[in-house]
């Protein structure tokens, strides 16, 4: 309970402090370089103009300074440092050049993680985007569409750990003959199959873990793609209707080609999330039964046996390298947008 009071106090102080900084910094700037006066002396007027120029150039930096400080300290510096640390030893003391990288190249855990991550990267963004698209298209035409969309979006709001508990319950396994309490096994038994301990099945368990992430992200895809679908110009649809096209044909041949941009955004965003997600594997299997992924591997090495920071940094850098193509694509798009301004 004390933490909460501490937190509220900190929030108030922080807000008050930052706001105070901005106002005070601004006043100081205006003090040093005043821009208005009651006098009409021409010499003072030209001084004012000069002041306006200077304060106009300085003021924006006052506004962005705290943000830049935080960004540099907590993002830019660590990124550079981590890249550097991958060439150092376990406690970042000794420079060991490519030792960590050599170890990584031959490490079985790393191979397993790369293989699994490849699977995750292929399956999750594709299925989540596809399901989001389908649900967006379907719910657009029915009267209870809003409710349906709400239900599908809901898993986005909960934590990965919470979702893992929910699905662990669905995957629960009891020995054959016993009453199944997990939904999946109950359905399987109902149709005459044998119950399985889904999370422990080598290779296939990865897909059961992926279902959790797809369950959580399809709603996001649905929201973006539903908006994109609604933005498709009416004329293109009407023209197709006049030509006698049915709804399915219109959906696949007219609407989808016009929303490729949105599909791309959704697909890349989910891809990045897939690379970062460590909670699901950490909570459900902790990499047992061959479910290791890069994010979890990095976490393990950060703390395993006191932590090997050099190896952890190397793995983090691998994740970063995988993300870079998307980063470049995003920056290019942002640049183009800014040119239009």
């Amino acid at each position: 309970m004390e933490q909460l009071i501490l937190g509220l106090l900190a929030a108030t102080l922080g807000v008050g402090g930052s706001v105070a900084y901005f106002f005070i910094a601004n006043s100081i700037l205006d003090r040093i370089y005043p821009v208005s006066t009651s006098s009409s002396n021409p010499k003072i007027q030209s001084l004012l103009t000069r002041n306006m120029r200077i304060s106009g150039a300085v003021r924006p930096w006052l506004f962005v300074l705290p943000a830049l400080l935080f960004l540099t300290t907590f993002l830019v510096y660590p990124i550079v440092k981590t890249a550097q640390l991958s060439f150092f030893d376990a406690s970042n003391g000794r420079f060991v050049a490519f030792d960590n990288w050599q170890w990584l190249f031959f490490d079985a855990g790393f191979h397993e993680a790369m293989l699994n991550n490849t699977l995750w990267l292929i399956v999750v963004p594709t299925l989540a985007t596809f399901l989001g698209l389908v649900i967006a298209g379907l719910t657009d035409r029915i009267w209870w569409g809003r409710i349906a969309q709400s239900v599908v979006l809901m898993p986005m709001a909960i934590s990965f750990v919470g979702a893992s508990v929910i699905w662990k319950f669905v995957y629960d396994y009891r020995a054959e003959g016993g009453q199944q309490i997990g939904l999946l096994n109950a359905i399987v038994v109902f149709f005459g199959g044998e119950p399985q301990a889904w999370i422990t099945l080598y290779f296939w368990n990865n897909f059961f873990l992926m279902v959790i992430l797809i369950w959580m992200q399809a709603g996001f895809a649905m929201v973006i793609l539903a908006a994109a679908l609604r933005a498709v110009p009416e004329e293109t649809i009407e023209a197709a209707v006049i030509d006698g096209a049915g709804p399915v044909h219109i959906f696949f041949r007219i609407k989808i080609p016009q929303i490729w941009g949105a599909i791309g955004v959704v697909w890349t965003t989910i891809t990045i999330l897939v690379l970062k997600v460590f909670d699901i594997v950490f909570a459900l299997t902790n990499a047992q039964w061959n479910t290791e992924v890069l994010a979890n591997l990095m976490f393990s090495w950060m703390f395993r046996g006191g932590g090997h920071f050099g190896r952890g940094a190397a793995i983090a850098l691998v994740i970063m390298l995988l993300v870079i193509p998307i980063m470049i694509w995003n920056i290019r798009r942002a640049n183009l947008e800014m040119k239009d301004h």
Partner: protein
């Protein structure tokens, strides 16, 4: 909009497929919720869906032996209640494992030693014999019964009290509130400058922010942890502190915050801003009198996103706040429970729901802003 007749077979298929998909999305969460309010013994013996309809189970009951007999009205009687005082309805019973459902409730069966066994639908079992019953081990009775579902809030009570979930709840809140408010303030000023002030390097900063949006947190953990440790060692205090995690979350949340707010602010009507400038408003006045109030929807969306992100976070909390018992946030606590109480679903279900209760409330209450935020590019 393409016009299709409302009741065409095509629309039926649409409804059906949508229903299936929505059910797939809804059932897992529903299952956990129903489980969290079920009686703990019932959870492990029957699926949660039966709680909505009533479960039929097979049971084996061993009646008391010769020691339990009483003499009543000239006969020797053993009586027992197969549900041990609980409720239930017997639908069939038997005395041999080869024919466990041979008899209807209320029927009487002759046992090998001449006594007569009767099991009523309400679960009362009587064995009557004219002469003294001699078998020491009680008779085994196989029965099929329907147990009514029992709902309770005990699981929540146990979880909040014994499992220290309330402590974690306040920890989570203590982390989330400042970590939501700081980034918004700092980002608001920066976003305004990027949107409405001219200065060299503006584009570089914007491009930098876009690039930083996708950086995985894993790249930042090791150096920050090292620095925190060093600072902590220098000051002689604990290395894992709330201040540390607040600052970290602020830093991590800034790219998205600046990106969202900048996009929104840049889209505000130019005329309003220009008119105010002509009237002699300074940038600061423009900011807090005009732009900030107008940006309320974006601020709301951002606040929701950041709050949910911090509340649901596990990695940053473990690394910067630690996994010690009193510092554990809700997600960390739930993760622990998953590992230590693997199969005890009455605890896991209730804990999970305490953890996701706040996000669910935020979601259902403020869904509009969440959706708007998603559309504006709020993704982590």
């Amino acid at each position: 909009m393409v016009v299709t007749p409302k009741r065409s077979p095509f629309m039926l298929v649409v409804h059906a497929i949508t229903f299936l998909l929505v059910a797939t999305w809804f059932l897992p969460t529903l299952g956990l919720f129903v489980t969290s309010i079920r009686d703990r013994d019932q959870i492990s013996v029957s699926g949660w869906w039966t709680a909505l309809t009533g479960a039929t189970q097979s049971k084996v009951f061993r009646a008391p032996g010769a020691d339990g007999q009483k003499e009543q009205g000239g006969a020797f009687v053993i009586s027992a209640h197969v549900f041990n005082g609980g409720q239930g309805r017997v639908s069939a019973f038997g005395i041999s494992s080869l024919a466990p459902r041979a008899y209807q409730p209320g029927q009487s069966v002759s046992l090998r030693d001449g006594s007569v066994l009767t099991l009523r639908a309400d679960g009362i079992l009587t064995i009557e014999s004219a002469k003294r019953i001699t078998r020491r081990r009680g008779q085994r009775v196989f029965l099929e019964a329907t147990l009514p579902p029992r709902f309770t809030l005990e699981n929540y009570g146990e979880v909040i009290g014994a499992e220290n979930l309330s402590q974690s709840f306040f920890n989570s809140l203590a982390v989330a509130v400042p970590a939501t408010v700081f980034p918004i303030i700092i980002a608001a000023f920066a976003a305004y400058a990027l949107a409405w002030m001219e200065f060299p390097g503006r584009r570089v900063v914007l491009v930098g922010v876009v690039g930083l949006l996708v950086v995985p947190i894993q790249m930042t953990l090791i150096p920050l942890l090292t620095v925190y440790n060093q600072i902590g060692a220098y000051w002689g205090g604990a290395t894992k502190s709330y201040l540390g995690i607040w600052m970290a979350h602020t830093g991590f949340g800034l790219p998205l915050a600046i990106y969202l707010l900048h996009n929104y602010m840049a889209g505000l009507p130019k005329e309003v801003i220009e008119a105010a400038r002509v009237d002699g408003a300074t940038h600061l006045e423009l900011f807090y009198k005009i732009v900030l109030p107008l940006s309320f929807p974006a601020l709301a969306s951002l606040a929701i996103f950041q709050f949910l992100w911090v509340w649901n976070d596990l990695l940053v909390a473990i690394v910067f706040l630690g996994a010690g018992d009193e510092h554990l946030v809700l997600t960390g606590r739930l993760n622990n429970l998953l590992c230590t109480h693997g199969g005890r679903w009455h605890i896991l279900a209730a804990s999970a729901f305490v953890t996701i209760a706040v996000p669910l409330c935020v979601f259902f209450g403020l869904q509009r802003y969440l959706v708007r935020g998603l559309l504006a590019g709020a993704v982590k």
